[in-house]
């Protein structure tokens, strides 16, 4: 099967700044992937290259097996919903109609339903909408396009938690009923963690994690208990973080832990708490410098 996206040694340089540094990864058809990383990690640059809006300065990008740039048949199979997207000064319903001309799998019923779900006034000009409502327009278009490859780049600016939950729920229903490949960049990591099948984490233009979501759970663990016992248990593992309070210690180390190790932890009265995806992101992007200071 041809991967939906494959990047090989991809790089993007702006004068003396490196936005993407030798990135390689593969996105399989029908998967939901979280593209995670801090601001400036290179997520948007990567998405712009995937959608043919920008050229790599080295390496190669393939979408549906082809070069995306200036490739209309490929571009019509994907939709890119950006943060703070700029729309021409149209009424909401006109913007929806224009989008419907471009995407072959567009579903009008779904668009109408989503407009109602998000409480969007069809006749209002987009410029007059609140930030959250403008984000909702992007989400409606992104879902109703039913494009084979759907990219969302932080699509929820100004959306309140209830509206974001609505987005996640509709996204879930859509991928259940009309499977497609989704690449979702977000910094509200824990909100979407359970929706993701695969994680690609960027830091400073590099891929620091590329793994199935199942494997990421329990990837790192904070071990806490009596300091000397904790230290004995984590001996030989890379220390990501270490905290002490009196005789107690909490040390974050990468897994995995087999059954023997877990039984040993129980016998030693240690508490093992896995890092959430959000915490993992924080550690993965600061690991380098902690290694130096540890």
């Amino acid at each position: 099967m041809i991967p939906t996206i494959s990047a090989t040694g991809l790089g993007r340089r702006y004068r003396d700044e490196v936005a993407l540094d030798n990135i390689s990864f593969v996105i399989e058809p029908g998967s939901v992937t979280g593209l995670l990383g801090r601001n400036g990690a290179g997520k948007t640059t990567l998405m712009r290259i995937i959608t043919g809006q920008e050229f790599p300065t080295s390496g190669e990008i393939r979408v549906f097996g082809e070069h995306p740039a200036e490739n209309d048949p490929v571009l019509r199979r994907m939709i890119f919903v950006r943060e703070e997207q700029n729309y021409p000064d149209l009424r909401v319903e006109a913007a929806i109609r224009v989008a419907s001309w471009f995407y072959p799998n567009w579903n009008d019923e779904l668009a109408t339903q989503l407009l109602a779900d998000f409480g969007l006034p069809r006749r209002r000009r987009i410029r007059k909408l609140s930030r959250g409502m403008r984000s909702a327009v992007g989400i409606v278009i992104g879902l109703a396009a039913r494009a084979e490859l759907t990219l969302f780049d932080e699509p929820y600016a100004g959306l309140d938690p209830a509206a974001r939950q609505l987005f996640y729920d509709r996204l879930l229903t859509e991928i259940s009923e009309y499977p497609r490949t989704v690449l979702l960049s977000t910094h509200l990591v824990d909100e979407v963690a359970d929706l993701l099948e695969h994680i690609v984490m960027l830091d400073k233009g590099r891929v620091v994690l590329d793994a199935p979501a199942d494997e990421v759970r329990g990837k790192a663990v904070t071990v806490s208990g009596q300091a000397s016992v904790v230290e004995e248990f984590v001996a030989g593992r890379a220390i990501w973080h270490r905290q002490r309070l009196g005789g107690r210690a909490a040390v974050t180390v990468p897994g995995p832990f087999d059954d023997v190790a877990l039984a040993r932890a129980r016998a030693m009265h240690l508490c093992l708490e896995p890092l959430s995806l959000q915490q993992l992101l924080v550690h993965a992007s600061s690991k380098e410098q902690e290694k130096v200071s540890a």
């Binding site: 329990g218 932890a265 129980r266 093992l272 896995p274």
Partner: protein, 135 residues
């Protein structure tokens, strides 16, 4: 691959893969009789919507139980609880009972200086309070 649905390690629950947790939830319902043998279990999409998880993850959870022959696929209609599934799950759980419940209890008892006889008395007392075996 041997993902035992009953193999939850309490200390690492948050780190248990989601699909294993889905399999455990279904297995719990079968053991409790909420999902009787021969009844249809929720579809992948129903599970995904209910737990707000990726449908592929829900499918993986169901597959764990299909591989263990706890669930069976009936073509065109869905997944059903297999005959004998409840007893099969109970047997697996009995095997793991000591490791999951008794060993940690003994460890804590030792830590608190509760000797074996006292422990047995405590269990007897607790058992009569709670009405003993209900199964």
């Amino acid at each position: 691959m041997n993902h035992q649905p009953e193999g939850a390690v309490p200390a690492l629950d948050e780190g248990t893969p989601l699909f294993v947790q889905i399999a455990e939830q279904l297995a719990d319902d079968i053991v409790d009789g909420v999902l009787a043998e021969g009844t249809r279990v929720p579809s992948t999409n129903e599970l995904a919507a209910f737990y707000r998880i990726n449908p592929a993850t829900a499918a993986k959870g169901i597959n764990v139980l299909v591989e263990d022959a706890v669930l069976e696929k009936r073509r065109g209609i869905g997944m059903f609880v297999a005959d004998g599934a409840r007893e099969q799950l109970r047997a697996i759980r009995r095997k793991k009972f000591a490791e999951q419940y008794i060993d940690p209890m003994l460890a804590e008892a030792r830590r608190l200086g509760i000797d074996g006889d006292t422990l047995v008395t405590l269990i007897r007392g607790s058992s009569s309070h709670n009405g003993g075996d209900t199964a």
